[in-house]
Symmetry: none
Subunit: 222 residues, 2 copies
DNA sequence: CGAGGGCTATTACTTAAGGGATAGCCAGCC
DNA sequence: GGCTGGCTATCCCTTAAGTAATAGCCCTCG
């Protein structure tokens, strides 16, 4: 669909980050590169999502820690709305859970804010070309996370779920029974069972307990 | 059958309060709501406990200040008898001690009698769905109580569990069924069930899913 | 327009989970 | 020695969970 050859048209980028100074820094950095063009910037996650869907940039640089909607939620919302460009998380957090959750939720990269500007540009260029980029300092951590995944042959993926199935999963992860979920969502228990069956199959899980645990660990709940 | 509410089983409620007039008021209020059904009412605490255990309503509305057994004692007796539905305290007392004591003893809500009928219905509906409800005027008081919290006996605590129960909980939080846990620990499935039953009671939880979620969030797993 | 997907619902069935009760065995403790 | 608590086990019973198949309704996409 979009360019794989950067010399003709520059790759379009967007940044969503609630720190104005940091945004300014990135803007300045990108101005020096004629193959990377910043087409949008905002500090408001909601606005950022709308903007990304409107501008359809090749790449969205997304802060993980923001007031209101956090980055993870924003990422989910973007994917839900079928935004098909690259999303690279941009954060100070090097916690394993955050990295893993981001990648599980469809992030195409995870860059730390303390990286060198030259590295940053290089990584963004790679990301715009479709390559997954991860800050080098996270590789050890990532390896650890992968090792802990030995029980999951096929990594479950939220994206395969429908909106309704995600809703059911969230309620389920809150410990609710089918009956209570049914009452809460105003549908019958039988229908809840159908949704649960479907989501278990899609996620390749064998029980609601596995689903609940996975949802909590991946940050799908709340 | 209506299209807006396809779930035709209303939540069942019971009221235990020694003021006949007030009961009458609640009864009238609930008659107007087709998703809330009053299945029992009494002014006698003893009778109320027996009735609750017999009818097993989804929710018991329990007066705090009653002659004979007071509401707090009634609450304890209900939980002791393994009544698993919701219990919402219903009272004129806004004393911090009463509120805290009720919540510590497993109440799922605390509503003041001076609330507006519309609010009442809304809150009861929420409570029947499994959400904790507290009169809005109590929130400040509650925040204070939380800050002053020194010892919370009903706060789920791993240390109240025996070594074996902790082991079972860990396996459970891994998504394993009773049968698999049994095989892994080389005991019978029946024994696993006994342990699960005990740990659920100790942690004041209602299902293995709640236990699993709690364990994961508290970091008890692996 | 027809096809497909998503959401809803229903019937029928099997298996898992949970509660109550009781009991044997073994350790540590007063 | 008796008592208690922890671990094991079993029987019985009810409810919850999960599977399978079928189907209607609505929306979207080609």
């Amino acid at each position: 669909m979009t360019l794989t050859n950067a010399n003709d048209t520059p790759a379009s980028l967007m940044i969503i980050d609630d720190h104005p100074l940091l945004r300014r820094g990135v803007i300045q950095l990108l101005e020096l590169e004629d193959d990377l063009e910043l087409v949008g910037e905002t500090g408001d996650p909601e606005e950022g999502i709308a903007l990304a869907l409107k501008l359809e940039p090749d790449l969205v640089l997304l802060d993980l820690n923001m007031p209101g909607i956090n980055g993870l939620e924003a990422l989910r919302r973007l994917r839900e709305a079928n935004y098909s460009g690259r999303v690279v998380m941009f954060t100070v957090s090097d916690h394993e859970d955050d990295v893993v959750a981001a990648l599980h939720n469809g992030a195409d990269g995870y860059l730390l804010k303390d990286m060198e500007p030259e590295d940053m540009v290089r990584q963004l260029r790679q990301a715009a070309l479709g390559r997954m980029v991860i800050s080098e300092s996270l590789t050890a951590l990532l390896a650890e996370a992968l090792r802990n995944q030995r029980n999951a042959p096929t990594t479950p993926d939220v994206h395969s779920l429908t909106q309704r199935e995600r809703e059911i999963l969230q309620q389920l992860a809150g410990g609710l029974s089918n009956k209570l979920i049914a009452r809460k969502l105003d549908i019958t228990e039988g229908t809840v069972k159908v949704h649960v069956k479907h989501l278990l199959k899609k996620l390749n899980l064998r029980s609601r307990v596995e689903a609940a645990v996975w949802a909590v660990q991946a940050g799908i709940d709340h």
